[in-house]
């Protein structure tokens, strides 16, 4: 099993997420994360999907997704692209541990976004592996709640997803 990241431009309409996610479930694709947001064009959303599988599943998933009418462009994101994920973590802190947690967050360049007598909320952006490392370090203090956005990615240099070849135009 390998991990692959796929970016897709899709129509920004209700029901599109259902079409994509129901495709995954009925074809048995195993995904790690899926994040969606609007793009510079309000009619278009961007999906970033992290897939577990092999080259066959990757090819099938991309081709099956590409057949969906609401999927405009699709691209397998290369490993050297820029990958980022956002994390919010609520950690149990008191007078004794707060400064240790603050120190940790400085090492990881996380932000402290909320402090209360018994808990601290931290914010961190980075590659998923960096977030994993941060979470591991926080765990001993008592991780009360964790929210991660799932990874989003963009290719380096001038190349853009909207310049990808379009299967629907070939036939």
């Amino acid at each position: 099993m390998k991990q692959y990241t796929i970016s897709a431009l899709v129509a920004n309409k209700s029901g599109v997420l259902t079409r994509v996610s129901s495709l995954f479930s009925r074809r048995g694709y195993n995904i790690d994360s899926l994040s969606v947001c609007t793009t510079e064009d309000p009619a278009i959303s961007r999906m970033t999907i992290v897939l577990n599988g092999d080259d066959y599943i990757l090819a099938q998933m991309m081709k099956q997704m590409d057949k969906l009418i609401d999927v405009i462009k699709i691209k397998h994101v290369e490993t050297e692209a820029v990958y980022r994920e956002l994390l919010l973590a609520k950690v149990r802190t008191d007078g004794a541990t707060r400064s240790e947690v603050f120190e940790l967050s400085q090492i990881f360049r996380a932000k402290i976004v909320d402090v209360s007598p018994e808990a601290t909320i931290l914010e961190l952006t980075g590659k998923p592996v960096k977030l994993d490392g941060f979470v591991n370090m926080l765990r001993p203090y008592g991780l009360l709640e964790l929210a991660r956005t799932g990874v989003t990615a963009i290719s380096r240099g001038l190349s853009c997803i909207k310049d990808e070849a379009d299967y629907k135009e070939k036939i």
Binding site: T18, A59, K63, Q64, K67, I69, K170, I171
Partner: protein
Amino acid sequence: MKKIGAEILIDCLKEQGVDTVFGYPGGYVLDIYDALYRDGTINHVITAHEQGAAHAADGYARSTGKTGVVIATSGPGATNLVTGIATAFMDSVPLVAITGNVAINFLGRDSFQEIDITGVTIPVTKHNFIVKDVNDLADVVREAFRIANTGRKGPVLIDILKNVQQTTADYEPVPPASCARKPVPESAVKDAAAAIAASSRPLLMVGGGAIASEASQEVRALAEKLHAPVVSTLMGLGAFPASHPLFCGMMGMHGTATAAKLCLESDCLIAIGTRFSDRVALNRDKFAENKTVVQIDIDDAELNKNVAVDYAVLGDVKEAIRTLLPLLGEKDDAFAQKAAAYREQEKKNAKKPELGHEILIEAARLAPEDSVVTTDVGQHQMWTAQYYPVERPRSLCTSGGLGTMGYGFGAAIGAAIGTGKQVVFVTGDGSFNMNLNELSTAVTQNLPIVILLMNNRALGMVRQWQKLFYNRRFSQTVVNKRTDYVKFAESFGATGLRIEKESDIVPVLKEAFSKKSPVLVDCVISEDENVLPMIKPGHTYDTIITEWKEN
């Protein structure tokens, strides 16, 4: 000009050249039916059940090449379409299904006859729409027809809310979008052409895509240039004439022994518009062993999906073969001669056909040449594929992918209305009981449909598997219904006839085909007529079973 939504829908159907629709009225399509009534130019065929209407639209589409249109009301009307839509989806049939739904202020409140039919049909449509604003309606209908007919064809559903049907909007007619296929560049077929040229035993494998893209002439030209024998999937039957000397029959689970031998011996398989379904490839990992496989398909996702191929050509098969032909030289006919010898041998080895087979052989001889055949699903379907020679594309309608028992009657109605020709509807007593209510439709419309009901009082195909794999434990497959099908036909206003022995066949069939109205022929056959040859699921072609001793 200003029109209400229901009128815009009818006008948009007319823009697309629709002159016939199938359907069933109901509360949330009243406005559509009112607009149909006031317009008066579209022939609406009401069936006994929405499932029959969906299959009729499918049979209409398969037999004519046009888009089938079916209308149903919300809730149960819409859900009754689902099997028909799924059947069309699995076999890539262009269909536009139109359903009504509750008004927007009732949506999402579990109102009477409200169902989320777009949610239900996501997995079985190419795409679907829910129209909540009348200003979107015309473009949605146009887009639905375009989607149904471009690329790999398939069904599209449009769910139209009641308020949309009743609200006024601006409407201007627009000519239908072009659904022309793109030419396939030489670069896409060059490597495949070289591989074909280097082969010495090329074999053409023809699928339903060859019919969908109207590629019969091109397939024939390719086969004749290469002197390549041709085998066909169930869906491909008719793409290449059954009487052509290069034709070697159906391949797959119940294909001919000749087809199986040729598949094993060929060094280059040219797969045209086929997805190597499990009923064809059987063992997908070993199917392509010891040979080069060229796959031509319009659906990118089908390339390399079931069988890993050496050369995948994306594009319309008609266009691809056109590009391919000039790159290929003539070949010798050694493999074709071998194929002919195998075919002769198979014919010589064949036992005397059983009663059911004989009926199909005679029906093919006695039916008018331009007849269309439809089938249900089971043993009779395979016998039809084996014994009823299909000469022309679009003259066989059968549910290949979904395997829908109950498909054939609706399809027969659609084909009879679409082509105006004689229809032979082959069914079994199991399948027939699923949608026999449509006999009322056939009688009301006075359609020339001869029903050959292979009555073995059992669910023969499942029973055959129980014989083979379940040590003859015939769980729920020996049904022994007491129905008198002759009387049944007569009570519906059709003609009922019966074949019980060989000498009945010709006189009864002659009478049946002379009627030009619905005739049900109760063909009383043995429950032990099997479908042979057979290759077990997951097995390889060399394990084909051609003979079977009872017990």
